[in-house]
């Protein structure tokens, strides 16, 4: 499964980067290809390319604030959660992404 996502929190110095690391680690551990863009105090890092977005099976937005460029994900299956979900339960979040995709494929 190919996952892309964005992490963004209010101050943009803490949860943003922990959420990114945790989601990427959990995704890779589960055998998926995953790339998470951060929108933090430093600005946008690890910016997703249009090809990455196009090829993604699912999008995870771990955000406590409005993210920039949400329109890039139009038409994609999106899971949106607060950053603390990605920080505290990254494995569960990846599992949820797998389930959502399974449901989509079953339709």
């Amino acid at each position: 499964m190919k996952i892309v996502g964005v992490a963004a929190c209010t101050v943009g110095i803490a949860h943003t980067y922990i959420a990114q690391e945790k989601m990427e680690n959990a995704g890779k551990k589960a055998g998926h290809e995953i790339a998470i863009e951060t929108q933090g105090t430093i600005g946008t890092e690890n910016e997703l390319s249009s090809q990455q977005i196009q090829e993604a099976d699912i999008v995870i937005l771990a955000a406590d604030v409005k993210i920039a460029g949400r329109e890039r994900f139009e038409g994609k299956r999106i899971i949106q959660v607060p950053t603390d979900v990605a920080v505290k339960s990254p494995n569960k979040l990846i599992k949820k992404a797998e389930e959502v995709l399974k449901q989509k494929q079953a339709q």
Binding site: C9, V11, I13, A14, Y17, I18, E21, G40, T41, K88
Partner: protein, 148 residues
Amino acid sequence: MNDNSLFQIYFDSDLETKEQVYDFISEIACAHASFQQKQDIIHQLNEREKAGSPLIAEHVLLPHIESEHVIESQIILFRLAKPMHWDETIEDIRMIIAILLKKGEEEAIKKKMAGFTRSLADEDYVERLLNVEEIEFHKEIIKIREES
């Protein structure tokens, strides 16, 4: 700013309540500022908490703010002498990592701080910070400081 002063470590801290922790942090954030400015820092910390839980791992809190009242950006680590009851929903806290970001801080410092917070995604690293002795604790922080 001097990179060495970015981290402050309080090992075996005897702080016992959330109020004591936020008071202490506000003193560090703006030592010579007015009472009102310190109250603003405490208010910001409380507001950030309302926006989302500061709990990042079992036993670990990460309160953080960005403020014009912060004189120098800092990462303040408290390894508590005794587990702390934080509030009705959070208890058994053993380590508090407070991040104070000065408004308009330079990018190089922000990157160092972000590098450190990324390291907190590593559960083994956090586990070590929770359990090692004081000398090792300092070494773990120095290691991350040099890497980030």
